[in-house]
Structures are given as structure tokens and as C-alpha cells.
Amino acid sequence: MLPDGAGPIRSGSGFFPMPTAIIPALLRKLTAGRERVAVKGGTVREIVADLERQFPGLANHLLDAGEIKPSIAISIDGEIVPGGVLEPVGENSEVHFLPALSGGA
């Protein structure tokens, strides 16, 4: 399991930047209460796969048939992004899983 927290993590050869996944409050029971998790991956799909590797069962809450559930919106670095699991994620990015919205006017 990777250490809690965002950004670079220490490995044998130095610091490597990594994206950070922000775990929705109701799913933190699956991450031992951790809100911010350093994850490996260059796309949302890879990040969710890494979350599943670290916290088995978590992906079930985020994916449906391999796609991000329609009830969930993905925000990367403060912007809602439309690309779902294909969305690229930067090495210092923060990825949030939010409730999807509806609008009205």
C-alpha cells in the first residue's frame, strides 16, 4: 500500500511525482479513513485500477462495466472532465470523484 498524502513519494532512487486520488467521504471506510491517496497511472482508468489494487472493492463503487458510473463526475485539477476512464491524468494532478449534476436553465 502506498503512503497517505498527495504529490511526490519517496522511492529507493528519490522523489517521483504521482497523481492524488481524493476518496469520497462515504467510500473512506474502504480506505481505512484515508481521504488522499497517492496513485499510479496516466489515465483515470489506470488510477482506478491502482485504487482497486490498493483497496480491493473500491472500483466497484466507481465503475460500471468498465466505465465511470453515470452518477459520478470526474474532476481533475478543479475541472469537471468529460472523458471518463480515458481522461489523461497529469503526474501532479488531483482527481476527485463527485456526484454528477443536473442543471436547469
Binding site: A25, G78, I80, L101, S102, G104, A105
Partner: protein
């Protein structure tokens, strides 16, 4: 009214041309859904449930089918069974299984007015008579009308497939629980000098669009269907109808008619698939048009809600903790905007310690639909009232208190990600510097209130084409239904890029076969996202025109620059060539030019608004008179300031109606008692003062023109602003909407009784 915005280096953007569609509308020539007629067309009517909650034991169509002139009748059994699975549709998430049951009840009716059967007949009167002849046997069940009743242990269950995954998979009326947490809530409250905790209730309200829902369906023998209807999203009507009918999306064409208001309520479907199915059965076009009563009973209003807020601040005016519990009525099927409400409720403020729990609760009321900043108005009514009270406790001006705690670029949102460039501070300052705020309010029983609001705004998919005509004029085609003047804005963006007068650009809204996919007109997204597509399509046209000019001049395109509506050779060795001149030569230089663009828009810029209201409370009747109202809103960039002001005023008017009058009245059997606009009391021009507008322009860096979107956030602050004004007028904190005379009078009498008891004790 604010003056025109400063349009800087723009020539067209920021001006106020007459809308292109205006003449047809004022002359009665614009075609609305109910205006469509076709040879041999049949008319449809719906049988609706008189019960709020009942099991359908049997439906007997024999007598109705025997009536001369009746051509077909359908019930829920005629709709294919849809999959019980949430799907994305435009900006909404939709479960086709519930959507289908909402369109025609299958085995249970879940609200007064729930549709049970649809009849097609040779005229509307025969169809109505046939509806009366349909015999339904019900097993009436106890109605569950409020979130309190629905969440109570042992409450009657509406949907037996809804399960509480947090509590042993038991049957439940709670469809979803959202939670947002940050910091240490207990430590936050411990550090507070003042803590306010209150409970709020808001009534279910309707969008109140003037034009009722309508649809004409034509199903051809080749399996192709066409739907003419009033909708905010033709592509959504197409995909949702396809799902409900179990036919391919590509087999349906949707022609969006002119629209007489929607405000979110026309982002889903009711009649559209029924018109197609009835047409398929009869071989004739079928028209369905709702009555006002049907609109109020059976289309989606927005949620009533119960919201508990606890908030703490230190003496210096810093908010240190907030805890929120909120439950929204979803109506008969899951899907209230409580998630959005939870993310909006304290969005304008930086609060380090917070916990927000939101519950989506099914009740025996019509399935809610989107309504202008869905979920945010209820939420702001609660939070902005508490903010006002905390400011008072801290001895601070309410705007200074908000500015001290207000979000800026880089501040964390409720859900975590930081805001990009936003205009909350500028919006509050605009109100603070307004003549209205600086003016003194005098007189007995008068008070002034302020409140702010937040809405996300949306991006999503849009397409546009810009056609260059042979005389150098242009048309711009989009798929965005025009509900607020967006056609004019699209023409203005095109004109700005092409360097043409706006009168030389004709804007059109196309059907689903004539333009690339375009998501719903909603989420304040059209000027932002479709505007982005239009901007790019016009740029594409310029690029192609530059290549043609290069051909004419026998030079390379990069030796040409386009400015002020004309092509110039960079070497300056040729006289400028205007688009009009070049357009004549298109046929001989390669043929027609169409600029195209499709976007899945990124760079959404959230919107903030602040509303200032002066009221006078009649001490005898408790009627609240609105004396003056000013709204400031960050538009990013106002393309057409008049239509931005129109959105600001429209949203404010709806928010004021929500604040003071509007509510669904259900009796103890769950029957809606105010099914007309005389009893469902929306404000008229006699109820409202002129709504003064201040457009704030903090350009959105995510849009080529700085646009944010302006359609929704103006509805968010008014109920809280009115509540705060009432407090400053008569010393009563109203915690329920509408703050109508009966409700306010009850609180005034309670206060008077308490004051009398106090003075009696003192004597």
C-alpha cells in the same frame, strides 16, 4: 437598470441588437409545439391517477375502445421493459426503468396525476370522453408526502427495489446518501465563539413555464419516427424516447419547436414516446398537449426539502465550522438535486471544518425535474440565513462578513478541488458599492436583506456550422433550443469573428438530423459551450476564406491577415478584400464554405450572484411587499447585456416567487389542490419592483470570449435575501418557504404573545 457593459475591443459583443427571432414571435408567426398540424392527425389524452399511492389491480379498456372515433389506447404494458440502470443523458443521469414507469405507470401509481393510459382519437373531445370510460381498479395505499414521513422507520415503501446499502440492504425510501467531509468538525465548533443551529423547510415549487408540454409524433411505415415538441434538448428527447420505446436512436428525428419557457422542466420526456407509439398503432400523426393542471400535477417541479444547518464563527468573523443535514424530495422516483444542493450550500465560503450529509428521498409527489440551479436555492435559503445571523452576532456588516470568508481563486470547493478564477468577491463588492446598498432604508416594518448564491454552470457537447452565403452574409446553425435569447448571442459571436454586422448573420436552431450532437439547453451552458462551438466554427470559416483569398491573389494563405471583416495582404500590395467581395467568388475558387466545429467544452467558469432586497411587512396581514431589489451577477463576459439582464431578472423573479408565495398544496390524501395558476401563485408584474441589475464581468479564462453562463445562479439568493430582510423588518427569522402571510403571521403572533408574556411578567 445597469448601463451597457464596456465591450472594450469588441465591435458586436457587448452591444444590444434586436433579437433575430423577435418579429416572428411578436407577430404570432413563430411555431410552437401545439401549432403543428398534419393531415389526418389524431389527438391524444391521458388518464391520470386520482390517488397519490395505489396498486393498479386492473385496467379495463373495453368501453373506451368501443367509443366511435377512438383509434388506440396504450397502457404501461405496451411499453417495453426498460433496464433498471442509471445512464448518462446529456447533463442528466436517467434510469430508463423509472423513466418509463413515470411516463405510464406499470403496476403502481405513485402520485396524484400519474399517467396510466393514453388514448388517440379523431378529436380531443372524444379522446377525453374515452379517458373517462377507462375503468381502473385500485388498491389504495397510504401516501408518503414528506421526507420526514418517508424516512420514518416503518414508512410505507414506494419502490420495493430501492435498498439501503448502508443498513443491511433493507427496503427504503432513501434512494441515495451523499457525504462531504473536511477537517475536524468537533474541533472547529470548539473554537467557535458563536454557534447558530437551525432547521429549514422549503416547499416543492414548479418552474411555471407558460407553455404546457406538447408533442406530435409521426411514425412512418419505414420505421422512421419524427417528434415535434417543446423541449430544452432535442437530442435528449431523441435518446430518452429511443430508450423508452426500445428503438434505435437513429430511427428518431426530433424537431424542436419554439419554446415557451422551460427553466429545466423541459429537459426530460413525458408525452413524446407516447405520441410515437400511438402513431405507430394508428398509422396517423398523433398530437398530445397537456393542460395546466396536468403540468402542475404530473411534470417535474423541484424538490421541497428539510435542511438542518449548524455553523460556528469566531468573534473576528471567521467561519470555523459547518455541519449540514439535508433531505430533498425526489418525487416518485429517485433523482432529487440534493447532491448539487450539498455542493452548493456553503460553496461561497472557505470553511476548514465541515460535514454535509444529503439524502435523496422518494415521496408520493411528481418526479422532480431540473429547475434553474437545481438544489441550490433550497440550500442557500438555509445557509445564507445562518450567515446573516452570524454576521449579526459578530457585529459585522453582512457583506463584509461574506467578503471576509468568501472564496477566491485557489480556495477549496466543498468537494475539494480549488476554484479557478471566480468573481464572488467582485459580485459582493458590486452590491456593496451600489446606490441601493448605500441608500438609507427608513420607515416602520421595513428591512433590508442580502444573500449570495453559487452555481457550477456546465460545459458538455455542442456543435455549430457557419455557412457563408454568396452575398457575404452568413447563417449560424446550432442544436441549442433558444430559451433566453441565445440565438442572438450566437449571431453576435459569429458577426464578431467574421467582422459582419449582426443583421447579416441569421441564427437557426436545427433538428437532430441537421446538426451534430448538442446537449441540452441547461446548466447555463449554451452561450458558454455552444458559443464556443460557434466561435470555432466561425474561425474555421475564416481559415477557409483566407485560403480562397490566397487563391484569388495567387499568394500563400500565411501572407494574408483577416481583420475588420476584410482580408489584407501582409505586404500591403493589394487593396483589402471584404468577405462580401470574396463570397461572390466562392464558386470559382472551390465552392461553398461551411465552417464547422463540435466541442465537448472544458473550462467551465462557475457563477456567483448577490441579491439585495428591501421589504415592508404589513403588521396586520403579514403580507410582504417588495420595495426594491438589486442583483449583481458575474457573467464572465456579457455577449448581449440585455439578455444577461433578462436572465438575472427572470431568475430573481422566480426566486422571489419561491420566497413569498409558491408552493404545492396537497391534502391529507395526497391530492394536489392548487392545479391552476390562480391558486399556484407565481408573482406578476404587480408583485415585483423593477429588478435592478449589475453585470459583473470577471472573464472566464476557460472560454475564448470569457463567457461563464448566466441562466441559473440569479434564482439562488432571493429566498434567503427576503428572509433576512423580513428579520430586519420585524425581528423574525423565517425558516420556511414560502414566507406567505399565513406562515409569517403565525410567527408574528407567536412573537407578540412572547413579548406580551414578557411584559406581563415584568409588571
Amino acid at each position: 437598470m445597469a448601463a451597457a457593459t464596456n465591450n472594450g475591443h469588441f465591435k458586436v459583443i457587448g452591444t444590444r441588437p434586436i433579437r433575430h427571432d423577435g418579429i416572428d414571435k411578436v407577430m404570432g408567426r413563430a411555431k410552437y409545439g401545439a401549432d403543428y398540424a398534419f393531415p389526418g392527425m389524431l389527438h391524444g389524452k391521458l388518464l391520470r391517477s386520482p390517488h397519490a399511492h395505489a396498486r393498479i389491480k386492473s385496467i379495463n379498456l373495453t368501453k373506451a375502445l368501443a367509443l366511435p372515433g377512438v383509434k388506440a389506447i396504450i397502457t404501461g404494458k405496451d411499453l417495453p421493459k426498460a433496464e433498471n440502470k442509471l445512464e448518462q443523458s446529456g447533463e442528466m443521469t436517467v434510469n430508463p426503468y423509472y423513466l418509463s414507469m413515470n411516463i405510464l405507470a406499470h403496476d403502481k401509481v405513485l402520485y396524484d396525476g400519474h399517467a396510466i393510459a393514453a388514448v388517440a382519437a379523431t378529436n380531443p373531445h372524444i379522446a377525453e370522453e374515452a379517458v373517462r370510460l377507462i375503468e381502473v381498479e385500485y388498491e389504495v395505499l397510504p401516501p408518503v408526502m414528506t421526507v420526514d414521513a418517508a424516512m420514518k422507520p416503518g414508512a410505507p415503501i414506494l419502490l420495493h427495489d430501492l435498498r439501503n446499502k448502508e443498513e443491511g440492504n433493507k427496503e427504503t425510501n432513501v434512494a441515495q446518501h451523499h457525504q462531504f467531509k473536511r477537517g475536524d468538525i468537533e474541533a472547529g465548533f470548539k473554537s467557535a465563539d458563536f454557534i447558530i443551529e437551525r432547521e429549514f423547510n422549503t416547499a416543492m415549487v414548479h418552474q411555471g413555464y407558460i407553455e404546457p408540454h406538447n408533442a406530435v409524433g409521426i411514425y412512418n411505415t419505414d420505421g422512421q419516427a419524427t417528434i415535434y415538441c417543446s423541449t430544452q434538448g432535442a437530442f435528449d428527447v431523441r435518446s430518452l424516447s429511443a430508450q423508452v420505446l426500445g428503438i434505435a436512436v437513429g430511427k428518431i428525428k426530433v424537431v424542436p419547436a419554439e419554446i415557451g419557457g422551460g427553466f429545466g422542466g423541459k429537459t426530460t420526456i413525458y408525452l413524446e414516446p407516447l405520441s410515437v407509439l400511438l402513431s405507430k398503432m394508428t398509422g396517423a400523426p398523433v398530437k398530445l398537449v397537456m393542460t395546466r393542471g396536468e403540468v402542475l400535477r404530473a411534470t417535474g417541479p423541484t424538490s421541497g426539502s428539510k435542511i438542518k444547518v449548524k455553523m460556528g464563527a469566531t468573534k473576528d468573523g471567521t467561519i470555523v465550522a459547518a455541519q449540514v443535514w439535508m433531505a430533498y424530495e425526489a418525487g416518485a422516483y429517485p433523482g432529487s438535486p440534493v447532491g448539487a444542493g450539498a455542493m452548493c450550500i456553503i460553496a461561497p465560503y472557505t470553511i476548514e471544518n465541515l460535514q454535509i450529509d444529503g439524502y435523496d428521498v422518494v415521496v408520493n409527489r411528481p418526479k422532480t425535474a431540473a429547475y434553474r440551479a437545481p438544489g441550490a436555492t433550497n440550500a442557500a435559503f438555509a445557509s445564507e440565513t445562518i450567515i446573516d445571523e452570524l454576521a449579526d452576532k459578530c457585529g459585522m456588516d453582512p457583506l463584509d462578513f461574506r467578503l471576509k470568508n468568501g472564496v477566491k481563486e485557489g480556495s477549496a470547493q466543498v468537494v475539494g478541488p480549488p476554484f479557478k478564477r471566480i468573481g464572488f468577491v467582485e459580485t459582493c463588492e458590486a452590491i456593496k458599492n451600489s446606490e441601493h446598498y448605500k441608500s438609507k432604508l427608513t420607515g416602520k416594518n421595513r428591512g433590508r436583506g442580502v444573500a449570495t448564491g453559487f452555481w457550477f454552470n456546465a460545459g458538455m457537447q455542442s456543435s455549430a456550422t457557419v455557412n457563408i452565403h454568396t452575398d457575404g452574409t452568413a447563417s449560424v446553425v446550432t442544436g441549442s433550443t433558444d430559451i433566453g435569447g441565445s440565438r442572438a448571442a450566437m449571431a453576435m459571436i459569429t458577426a464578431e469573428v467574421l467582422g459582419l454586422p449582426v443583421t447579416d448573420v441569421r441564427p437557426l436552431v436545427a433538428d437532430t438530423d441537421s446538426i451534430g450532437h448538442t446537449d441540452v439547453t441547461g446548466g447555463s451552458r449554451v452561450t458558454f459551450a455552444t458559443g464556443m462551438a460557434v466561435y470555432e466554427a466561425a474561425q474555421d470559416a475564416i481559415k477557409q476564406l483566407t485560403e480562397r483569398a490566397a487563391k484569388v491573389w495567387e499568394i500563400k494563405p500565411d501572407q494574408i491577415e483577416f481583420r475588420d471583416g476584410a482580408f489584407h495582404s501582409k505586404a500591403g500590395d493589394k487593396p483589402p478584400m471584404a468577405i462580401k467581395e470574396l463570397a461572390k467568388r466562392l464558386a470559382r475558387t472551390g465552392g461553398p464554405i461551411t465552417g464547422r466545429a463540435s466541442v465537448n467544452a472544458r473550462g467551465v467558469g462557475p457563477g456567483f450572484a448577490a441579491t439585495l432586497v428591501d421589504v415592508e411587512v404589513d403588521p396586520d396581514t403579514a403580507k410582504v411587499k417588495l420595495l426594491r431589489c438589486t442583483i449583481a451577477q458575474d457573467a464572465g463576459r456579457a455577449i448581449h447585456p440585455s439578455y444577461v439582464e433578462g436572465q438575472m431578472q427572470g431568475g430573481t423573479a422566480q426566486g422571489l416567487g419561491w420566497a413569498l408565495n409558491e408552493e404545492y398544496f396537497y391534502d391529507d390524501k395526497g391530492t394536489l389542490r392548487n392545479t391552476g395558476l390562480l391558486d399556484y401563485r407565481m408573482p406578476t408584474c404587480l408583485d415585483l419592483p423593477m429588478i435592478e441589475t449589475i453585470i459583473v464581468e470577471v472573464p472566464n479564462p476557460g472560454h475564448p470570449l470569457g463567457v461563464r453562463g448566466v441562466g441559473e445562479v440569479s434564482i439562488v439568493p432571493p429566498p434567503a435575501a427576503v428572509a433576512n430582510a423580513i428579520f430586519h423588518a420585524v425581528g423574525i427569522r423565517m425558516m420556511e418557504t414560502p414566507m406567505s402571510p399565513p406562515k409569517l403571521m403565525k410567527e408574528m403572533l407567536k412573537k407578540r404573545a412572547a413579548e406580551n408574556a414578557q411584559s406581563a411578567a415584568a409588571d
